[in-house]
Symmetry: D2
Subunit: 300 residues, 4 copies
């Protein structure tokens, strides 16, 4: 098939290479000319603007977005809205909030354009060699582009989940689970680190990756991380988050769905962003007030 | 090699079959004559008592225990203590508390008997077809029986972790991680269940098992569970626990290792054992006291 | 002073009585004629409609709202918007979301009407005998009505916190703290209940109310609750919530403010609304999948 | 009455002053001669050793211990065991673990000595001016010394809870509740601190101390802490703990009593002891492995 790809970052460029491997024609577009040039060398047709990309595709066009969620996606979708024709298909493969995707699909629908929300998982290596896709939106439009998923995904690696928003909803929840799994694994190693035993963490992660109940890709990555850096020296335990964990948590609270572990995983990430906390100061001051307990001073 | 197996439950009997497949000679012992008979039919030598088992092995003997942790293990180890000779090796492959294993090893050492603590993971299917072993205890004794692990484990599926207790410590932490992972996965499906979308959970678990960041054996088992029962109808959400999660939590608290997610996973299991809680009654009564908020009566 | 009160529920009617005690003139309005009649008997002037209430006050009018947050408040504020004149003051003493209050103040400002957001605490008894008020909005408008707070509040029981929204923000956080405190107290009694000792809970709450570090109004209410019902028999532990805990939690997450205890208190309330959970079913099914652990059936 | 006090630290010395105020005769003993001298000046009889103290009391002796829990208490109790006579009464007013108290009472009983376990709350000011006591042990022995509690406690400030251990059990749970309440209050201020509003924390704590649902001694102490240091400048948010929170948590877990908020309060204290965490490093490393997300370096 022929399609356009907007956004050639770590995920987008790997998806392009993946598509080219499978014989698809890709028109590749990015605000960075270097990124476009790189894809051109790999076999894609270059497009330096969204207009150019739209013009180089025949109707019905297929355009895949792999750009940052939020404002950038809004901007690109708005721009496409003015350029596309009835029957065209826009796929948002990024980490958009599912309600945004539902609103965009609604808006696009007024022009006859199909908007498909696709959650993409598997990391950068998955994008290159076989990813996992959760797909929501119009069923007929999905059917038209299903061959792309057959080629880009690992076997059994895509699922059409139904109406608009369902793809990004699944991806959101997937990331919430990911937060919980990562925190659980990490806490396990924290217990090992504080124990009196002298474990080899790479070997520990390896044995847990082979035949155990907790074998998982994340455990394999843990093995790899410890192979690179046996005690994770020089790494600050700052746990960034990109928004999907927060959405899962907020959605769970709104739905009154009981999700303490996913929620706590997010809260511990926020805690890790701080060198000190105001709540800690309050508790320390209170202990001093009632019991005369010593306060640790900042200069200590 | 030739060895004795005491305890022919789900795990023990599968390990015997696994050993027989690999050409080992097994003397199989259990308090249930039926269990012994079953293993005899499979090719093991039967032993109806521990004494009989000990007598049918030549020195240095290798005896593998696969009996319930706690009192039963204590009893069998004590009994063996009076029967074994210097140089014999006792392997505890069950879910014993690591400090108990350390104490048992110390006691056995006074008679020259080696006590090896082995955490076994992989479930009943793993025991049969290839499990995961975490091993602690005397290095030389481990080296003698290493061929057993090479045969019973999946590739890379065993790890000699060092001194006595380290094998069961690793298994304990493994189970703590397992609690956290399971709770995270389960909470994800709770969010799906409460949402307005209409997801097919088997297909969801399948796509998450193929190419995603959260792919794992537990996710494959989730797929299998939903394949058997698409909405888990008829199942009460009672989450039993067998002790290892509690030990991990207690150990984390003792070590001041920060493990909120593993801890919360256990607390939610305890919560699931109750139809109602006393803390809930207190909060309901308090809300009524200060705000006149309606109390739900038990007969409601 | 003379003022109008709209909303004569448990809180509103007690505030009216409190105001009348202090010699203020109150025009009392409610959709329930009985509620109006009751206040009339107590000494208030009756008003059966908002229009009537507005007409019976001289400019600059002071109107206090004590109606349910959300839609009802929206409706009344909109209605007032069309009836009031520049210089009038509207006080929202209910549990409105602080961002709603900020938006309402902005809207009212275009007509020259001051909108003061007031968080009211102390329960129904406080409303009657001396409450606690957290106040946000225009400083001059607050100064005009400060005598009302001096009379209705306990000593030191009101605080002008600054710009619009700050009063309801403080009340929101107050309620978040309340959730955490109540859950902590309730968990303490849960531990007592599960212990082998035979505590008298009323006496326990009484001793903890006198001289201890945890003495508090909530502990006094706990004593009262146990005095009424020593084992809380017949009460279901269903912990309802009215929204402020959720807002605190959501706000904390948005601000990356670390608030695990307030958040968990809310999650446990949600958990208490369910007889069974889907996440529990998933964990139970998974344990059966890998370990053959028995599932509890719903009919059990 | 006449009694001996062993341990003249912050709590013990204030209890002595409290007892002297009420006309009791106190023999005061401490390993620090200065502490003994200070109490001598205040009107107590000095004793530089435990033997001296025992000799200066007539049978049946009453001896109150106010020494650090654990080893020191063990040592003093053992020493007393060799010196006391049948009918003597030993009171442990410190923060001992309730099971230790039960064991000590059992041991003392063999010599006919009564051992009363007393949890003392109210901080140093309470010890001086009126504290709160939770009392376990032999009922007759309690009756003999009840006048002491009548004098040292605030009105309604003591409770005889029953058999040996019940006093310290109640104190333990009291402290667990205290952890939860403090954390809840502290989290509330954390949300205020991160908000866009500009709150005066002293005034906030004051208004919350007057008429609100969350009014409490801890909130009054919060007001006092902010009066001393409006933004808690110079204070590190290090939240120490002295053991009772851990015991409450462990006991709750052992009893399968659901206490997530008390538990999390303790875990956040442990978190506050660390500048960085190993679990944080693991999560950061994992995010880098699968998504190429940037790691924060320690030198950053």
């Amino acid at each position: 098939m022929k399609l356009g790809m907007i956004g050639l970052g770590k995920m987008g460029s790997n998806l392009v290479l993946n598509l080219l491997d499978h014989g698809h024609e890709v028109v590749a577009c990015d605000i960075s000319p270097e990124a476009v040039e790189k894809m051109k060398k790999a076999g894609a047709s270059p497009a330096n603007t969204v207009e150019e990309l739209v013009q180089s595709l025949e109707q019905p066009r297929i355009i895949w977005l792999m750009v940052p969620a939020g404002k950038v996606t809004d901007q690109v979708v708005d721009q496409l809205g003015g350029l596309l024709d009835s029957g065209d298909i826009v796929v948002d493969g990024g980490n958009s909030y599912y309600e945004d995707s539902m609103a965009r699909a609604e808006k696009m629908k007024t022009r006859g354009v199909h908007f498909i929300d696709v959650g993409t998982s598997g990391g950068t290596s998955g994008a290159r060699e076989g990813a996992c896709f959760m797909i929501g939106g119009n069923r007929e439009a999905f059917a038209e582009i299903e061959p792309l998923f057959q080629d880009m995904a690992v076997t059994h690696g895509y699922y059409y989940a139904g109406k608009s928003g369902s793809g990004h909803f699944l991806k959101m929840v997937h990331n919430g689970i990911e937060y919980g799994m990562m925190q659980a694994i990490a806490e396990g190693f924290e217990v090992l680190e504080k124990s009196d035993f002298d474990f080899d963490y790479e070997k520990t992660a390896r044995v847990w990756s082979h035949g155990s109940v907790i074998r998982s890709w994340l455990m394999e990555l843990t093995e790899s991380a410890f192979a690179n850096n046996p005690r994770l020296e020089g790494i600050r335990g700052v746990m960034q988050s990109s928004g999907e964990g927060l959405w899962t948590t907020q959605t769970a609270l709104d739905l009154k769905a009981v999700a303490p572990v996913i929620t706590l995983s997010l809260i511990m990430r926020y805690r890790s962003l701080e060198d000190d906390t105001f709540h800690g100061k309050v508790v320390a001051a209170l202990r001093n007030e009632f019991g005369g307990h010593r306060i640790v001073k900042e200069e200590d």
